[in-house]
Symmetry: C2
Subunit: 173 residues, 2 copies
């Protein structure tokens, strides 16, 4: 069984990183709870939204992301039963390519280079299961699509859902 | 129809680049004809083979590759009839990730970031046609596999074959 796992907001905490950087730059106290149900940029004043968008283009942003709780331990277990690939739609952010590679080397060294995919559009993936936080990735996947909960997708319906890596373990292990 | 096109030795001339760099470093006159039927490293003295292997790890190697004759013009035409993706097994060479991206920006700007795939293993690709020079990519593809002739694969049998981009055009356009 081939299992694809997305990176941003599934194993790497992009969402909280946006909030942390925003609070630091503007000396604010924005919380995840205040952003719940939308993207971080939608929760800040309009004249500051460009600063959120620019994070993804900054050198070092993707390399510094904290891993999502439980992802390392559960994926390590999953590799014993599944053919696990990390698949990230990274092409939009050229700086991120090498940073994502080194980030995986640090936190997921057991996912070697043969099992890493950086792409633009995930409908070209052939496999059995995709764990992702984005509707447009999940709805075009030709297999079992599992939505990983992220603050931005809590109101999205129509997908099998997991709220944590603990729940992934209960479903798939 | 989804069409995947490999990079090295299909649209980017890695093979001749190895020879050019080898000749420059050792002041030799190795030709493609002398390497025919094998890899470039197999045609040089054993104590120099490591130098060939190291090319792919050198900064700038992939960025400087010349495009394969006819590839730009024919692929531009193919994009009018097919959903064309460039798919390169690049993960083994981390430096190559950004270089391949910029190389495509220069020579194939009409293949935007959504249609670029950098991976380790191509059996995860879902689509209709794969044009590639490597047996291990073509034999695991779940569609029409077309071998693009390269000096190293001229003795390989068992695949539909094209010898040039002109022949690709005749078959697919």
């Amino acid at each position: 069984m081939t299992l694809f796992v997305d990176m941003d907001e599934v194993i790497a905490d992009t969402y909280r990183a946006h909030i942390t950087l925003y609070n630091k730059e503007f000396n604010e106290n924005l919380t995840v709870e205040e952003c719940m149900g939308g993207e971080v940029w939608q929760s800040v004043p309009e004249n500051r939204r460009n600063r959120i968008h620019s994070h993804c283009h900054e050198v070092g942003f993707f390399r510094a992301l904290p891993p999502i709780e439980g992802s390392i331990e559960v994926i390590k277990e999953l590799t014993k039963e599944y053919d696990v690939f990390i698949a990230s739609a990274a092409m939009q952010f050229p700086n991120s390519l090498i940073e994502k590679h080194y980030w995986l080397d640090e936190y997921f060294p057991f996912i070697d280079w043969k099992r890493r995919i950086l792409c633009g559009d995930k409908h070209i993936l052939r496999g059995d299961i995709l764990i992702d936080d984005r509707t447009y990735n999940l709805e075009n996947f030709d297999g079992r699509s599992i939505m990983f909960s992220s603050p931005h997708n809590i109101h999205t319906n129509g997908f099998e859902r997991v709220n944590s890596w603990q729940e992934v373990a209960e479903k798939l292990l």
